[in-house]
Each structure stands twice: as structure tokens, then as C-alpha cells.
């Protein structure tokens, strides 16, 4: 499949349909997707929103490197991924990924690879807003893996 790898970091609301359109094609037998959304709680605290901050241009570059690595691992896939920055409220999408492939297995595997890898590689941070008005930067290295992020 042609390399149409797409990656960006944006302040605009994410559009999974637009990402799917980027990877779709007559040779695709599967399109797998993932959307990470802002959750209303974290480690027992009620969360009202999250500020996402990115180190640009490195964040976009690293996101593109992750997407290209997915294509290297699963040469049959096409990958499109967007990560949002700015202040998001509960329920809004912070990251969206679409992967197309002739068969489902590489598409599903590549989606998982992209989300798991971007979470440890792309320089983006989140500061949670709590109901009591306080805010705190999330440090995934300081809490249990299942308690972190999308």
C-alpha cells in the first residue's frame, strides 16, 4: 500500500472520520481505529478537564516517527494519527488513530502499537483540573500503569 502516513498535533477538535478517509482505499479490507477521550476521574479524584501541552515541533515529528515505525513493522498498513492540545473537557477526544490494511490483524496490531508507543515517546503532557479547582501535571512514571491516560 502507498505510504500515506499522516501525523499531526492540533488545537482543533479531532475528526476520526477525516483520519479514516485518509487511510481508506479499495485495497483495504479493514480499518481499525482508536479514540482516547478525557475521563471524569483519575486515581479516585473527580476530573473536570485536562490541559494538553506539547513540545512543538518535536511532538509532531515524533508522532510521525511512531506512525512510520508502524508501517515498517506492518508494511501492509496505512496510518493516520492526530493528537490534540489545549484545554479539553470531559468526553472530548485527545487522540485519534486510524489504520487501514488489506487484512484486520495488522490494522489492529498497528493501532495498538501507535497508541502505546506515542504515550511513552511523544513529548506531550497533561494537567488535570479537579472539582476543587486545583490542577496537577500527570506523571505516568509515578502511578500504576492502569491508572494513567487514555
Amino acid at each position: 500500500m502507498a505510504d500515506v502516513t499522516f501525523a499531526d498535533v492540533t488545537q482543533a477538535p479531532l475528526d476520526l472520520g477525516a483520519l479514516i478517509a485518509r487511510v481508506a482505499g479499495p485495497d483495504a479490507g479493514a480499518i481499525a481505529s482508536f479514540v482516547g477521550t478525557v475521563r471524569n476521574h483519575h486515581e479516585g479524584r473527580a476530573v473536570t478537564g485536562i490541559d494538553y501541552e506539547a513540545y512543538e515541533p518535536m511532538a509532531s515529528l515524533e508522532l510521525a516517527r511512531v506512525a512510520h515505525e508502524a508501517v515498517e513493522r506492518w508494511p501492509s498498513v496505512r496510518v493516520a494519527v492526530s493528537h490534540r492540545v489545549g484545554t479539553l473537557v470531559v468526553g472530548e477526544a485527545s487522540v485519534a488513530i486510524a489504520v487501514a490494511s488489506p487484512r484486520r490483524a495488522p490494522a489492529l496490531d498497528a493501532v495498538r502499537f501507535v497508541i502505546e508507543t506515542l504515550k511513552v515517546r511523544v513529548p506531550i503532557w497533561k494537567r488535570e483540573h479537579y472539582v476543587d479547582g486545583t490542577r496537577a501535571w500527570v506523571d505516568p512514571t509515578a502511578s500504576a500503569p492502569e491508572a494513567t491516560g487514555a
Binding site: 482516547g36 494538553y52 501541552e53 506539547a54 513540545y55 515541533p57 518535536m58 511532538a59 515529528l61 515524533e62 493528537h83 485527545s94 487522540v95 497508541i115 506515542l118 504515550k119 511513552v120 515517546r121 511523544v122 513529548p123 506531550i124 503532557w125 497533561k126 494537567r127 501535571w137 500527570v138 506523571d139 505516568p140 512514571t141 509515578a142 494513567t148 491516560g149 487514555a150
Partner: protein, 118 residues
């Protein structure tokens, strides 16, 4: 009356430098002396590290070029430096780098808090 020695070789007189003492020779030229001068490396900071140091662009006095590890050690002596972990993430020119990577004053250096995208 003193007479200046005409034609005296320039640089042959080192007044007060090691006269009668067993000192190692002072290197006055060469790439090491030229490059290992005190300089500042500007380090970009984000999120919790920007809060810790109170700035998003920190001038760190170091001998440059230096290693990433030496740069981080220099940051530890500055206000807020106690908030850095033992081996923070560092990117040089938008690429993740190991502690022994050389940093030059013209590089874009970022010392990066634990990432939390997704």
C-alpha cells in the same frame, strides 16, 4: 636604562608564568582550549519542569560542548534543580538523546518531564 631587545621572538617571554617552578605547560592553543570555554546552553522546559524552574527557557552555565549528563548536573545547582529525577529525558534538536550525547551552544536542547500524551 633598559633597551628593548629588537627582534626578540614574540611569545617567548611569559612574565610570571612558571618562572623557576615545576608547572605543567599551559596550553594556549588547540581545539580543546578553544571549545571548552564557559558558555550558556539554553534549555527549553515544559509542564512540571517549567513550573519547577519558573521559566520555559533556562540559561545554564556550562563548558560547551558538554554531555547531556553534565548539562543536567549543572541544572541541578540552579533553583528548582532539586525537582529533576536522576536521569531526566533529554532531546537535542528534536531527537531523544542518551546521557553521553554532546551538546553544543547552538543546539536546541529540551529537558523533558515524563510524557503523558494519549
Amino acid at each position: 636604562m633598559t633597551t628593548a631587545p629588537i627582534g626578540h621572538p614574540i611569545g617567548a617571554v611569559c612574565v610570571g608564568e612558571g618562572a623557576g617552578e615545576a608547572r605543567p605547560p599551559v596550553r594556549v592553543a588547540g581545539p580543546h582550549v578553544f571549545f571548552l570555554r564557559m558558555a550558556h546552553v539554553t534549555v527549553l522546559l515544559f509542564a512540571s519542569y517549567a513550573d519547577a524552574f519558573g521559566t520555559r527557557a533556562l540559561d545554564v552555565p556550562v563548558r560547551a560542548p558538554c554531555t547531556v549528563a553534565e548539562l543536567v548536573d549543572a541544572m541541578r545547582t540552579l533553583p528548582g534543580g532539586d525537582r529533576l529525577p536522576s536521569e531526566p529525558l533529554v532531546a537535542v534538536n528534536h531527537v531523544w538523546c542518551a546521557p553521553d550525547t554532546l551538546v553544543h551552544t547552538t543546539d536546541e536542547v529540551a529537558v523533558i518531564p515524563p510524557v503523558a500524551g494519549g
